[in-house]
């Protein structure tokens, strides 16, 4: 972890001095993971996810001269937080998606398909199901259960209370299980 942090910090220092190769190396280290995260946060909106990645890296380049290599923030975490905020803000501004009803009834045998999905096309199915979740449920679920942020952190990002986050993640998880249920092999 420390080596990763030092490598990232060293690359960012060089990138901040105009070293294009260092910038490319840093982008290749952190970009793919960030793009996958952004795609999930945006429900599979590739164009928007790419815009968020670009904006997050732009802010990283701007922050390069003052980046604290010995500070508490890990670069990938910092980028993820910036991207999460951008994704939440972007979705607040646009109401293009029509989410499912938050109180959608659950299938009785819903979650039992998950184990097989892990071995098959689990992640693809997961992304498809996440894309169908109501927006705030999806964001809370991704931030909590995939990215591992704490509930208070998520509450701060999403501009709501911790109890609301707990409710969103719990409902999101139930909805996710319900959406994955039809994929269960007979």
């Amino acid at each position: 972890m420390t080596d990763t942090r030092q490598t990232d910090a060293a690359l960012l220092t060089l990138a901040g001095q105009g070293d294009a190769a260092a910038a490319a190396a840093l982008l290749d280290r952190l970009g793919p993971r960030l793009l996958a995260f952004c795609r999930r946060m945006t429900g599979g909106d590739t164009a928007q996810a790419e815009d968020i990645v670009q904006e997050a890296f732009l802010r990283l380049w701007q922050k390069a001269p003052e980046w604290d290599a010995g500070g508490a923030a890990q670069m990938s975490t910092w980028l993820g937080r910036v991207a999460a905020n951008l994704a939440i803000d972007a979705r607040r501004r646009s109401a293009r998606m029509t989410p499912l009803d938050d109180d959608m009834p659950l299938a009785d045998d819903a979650p039992s398909a998950v184990a097989r999905l892990i071995r098959a096309e689990g992640l693809t199915a997961l992304d498809a199901a996440l894309a169908q979740l109501p927006e705030r449920q999806r964001q809370a679920l991704v931030l909590r259960h995939i990215e591992g942020y704490s509930n208070p952190d998520i509450a701060a990002m999403m501009g709501c209370g911790v109890e609301a986050v707990e409710s969103l993640t719990a409902r999101g998880k139930r909805h996710l299980a319900a959406l994955l249920a039809p994929l269960k092999p007979e």
Partner: protein
């Protein structure tokens, strides 16, 4: 109510997604690196007033002073030639000049006085 085992499976799937990544499209990669080049490009002086401007100032101002002095000392005819009336002065004050001097110094000046 969900089965705990199934919840664990869902958690495992979500955890598996944590290490997932997506290859960066070339277009996105190029845009990000173009942003980097723009942000870290050295700042150029506005209007190109850099070393060339300073050199022009250092050389130009003393050069103009020396040229003026040379014209006054070595080529006085050139200097007088551009003045009204060929630079010929009678040494006396004109009416406008007496008014100006009174305004400035408050003393009575008479037309035809010399400075």
């Amino acid at each position: 109510m969900q089965d705990p085992t199934d919840t664990d499976d869902l958690d495992a799937l979500l955890t598996a997604a944590r290490g997932d990544d997506a290859p960066l499209p070339q277009g996105l990669r190029a845009r990000v690196l173009a942003d980097h080049a723009r942000v870290t490009a050295p700042v150029r002086p506005v209007g190109g007033f850099g070393l060339r401007g300073w050199l022009a100032g250092i050389v130009g101002v003393p050069g103009a002073a020396v040229l003026g002095l040379w014209l006054g000392l070595a080529q006085p005819d050139l200097f007088y030639g551009i003045l009204p009336d060929g630079g010929v002065v009678d040494g006396g004050l004109a009416e406008e000049e007496t008014v100006l001097l009174e305004d400035l110094f408050g003393t009575d000046w008479t037309q035809g006085d010399t400075l």
